[in-house]
Symmetry: C2
């Protein structure tokens, strides 16, 4: 902490809200911005304020968006017959960046977890059911996390899809590419072994 | 990058001005704030804006301060007979946090480097000379960095001190505590060897 400036102390303290930033890093960031980059510091302040105040959720897919309907849902170039369901906007971003997927999304903003008060209502499953009811979607790719709660959610979603005459699919689980069998956890290895595929 | 929100993209891009934050970390920070911590995100925005716009330099020691004279210079409990000269506010903070030093400071905001346009004027040495001329200071602790330019600056400062009848001192250089001789660089080891001290 600097002994001479309350505003500087406040900035260092506030920077600690960022994930992975402790006291030392926060101090280094504050000094860096003050000494070398005040313009970009101000730009960051404005970007933060705008984002925190104006970003809400798309009324169609529930992803982050400052418009009622996000650019992705509004896009005419995305395949309207496939819907990928994810737990969070972070998961959506990961899929967008890693895969060539060009279909639609639906973001649950959570997973089924009755003890935490996360039921079908909170996950927007009524909105999802309505979307499925529109009749365009043929495949629902269920991309919830492979945790106990994520699996329960996947199970529930699959039932929802089948009830609407839609084919549910699930991301493949197994040994990660580049991973060594020796270091893969037992659950994953057992699953990969059981789900072995024929080489043609 | 998120495909659906320009404000989110702008925030991720702006977060990259922080030292040590690349694209992946910036994305993680933005999603973290949006999903879990909007209040603290807004607080950070305000702290940044205030700090970038209102923090200037103390007219007496040139450290960061939003007041004309910083709390440290204004404090009656600091020893007025010792002055520690440092290159940057970061160095001042490091000394404050690590040592029990209770004297005054002077921040050069740089080091002598004529090629970069950093001369005595830019380092505020006229202000320093005026301070020394007040007659209160008896010892000047020169805490510039042990680089070529820092040493040249130290040399210059020592002359300034002597001209004013003030005793110049320099931080001790040598093998860091906890360091192993094997891994200490040759320059430091040679210096530590030459400056060996008698054990009494």
């Amino acid at each position: 902490m600097s002994a001479s400036s309350p505003l500087l102390n406040e900035l260092i303290e506030a920077l600690r809200c960022l994930p992975g930033v402790g006291g030392k890093s926060a101090q280094r960031m504050a000094f860096h911005l003050l000494e070398r980059d005040r313009q970009r510091g101000l730009r960051l302040a404005r970007a933060l304020e705008q984002a925190m105040q104006r970003i809400g959720n798309c009324t169609r897919c529930r992803n982050f968006s400052e418009e009622p309907v996000c650019a992705l849902c509004a896009s005419a170039s995305r395949d309207r017959h496939v819907l990928c369901v994810v737990e969070s906007p972070t998961d959506l971003a990961a899929i967008e960046q890693a895969t060539g997927y060009r279909g639609q999304y639906f973001v649950l903003l959570g997973r089924l977890s009755p003890l935490d008060g996360m039921g079908p209502q909170e996950l927007g499953l009524d909105l999802l059911a309505q979307r499925l009811g529109e009749g365009e979607i043929e495949e629902m790719i269920i991309a919830t996390n492979p945790t106990v709660e994520g699996e329960a959610t996947a199970h529930y979603l699959a039932q929802l899809a089948r009830a609407g005459g839609i084919r549910p699919t699930r991301l493949a689980h197994g040994v990660p590419l580049g991973g060594e069998l020796e270091y893969v956890d037992r659950g994953t290895l057992a699953h990969a072994f059981g789900s072995r595929q024929a080489l043609d």
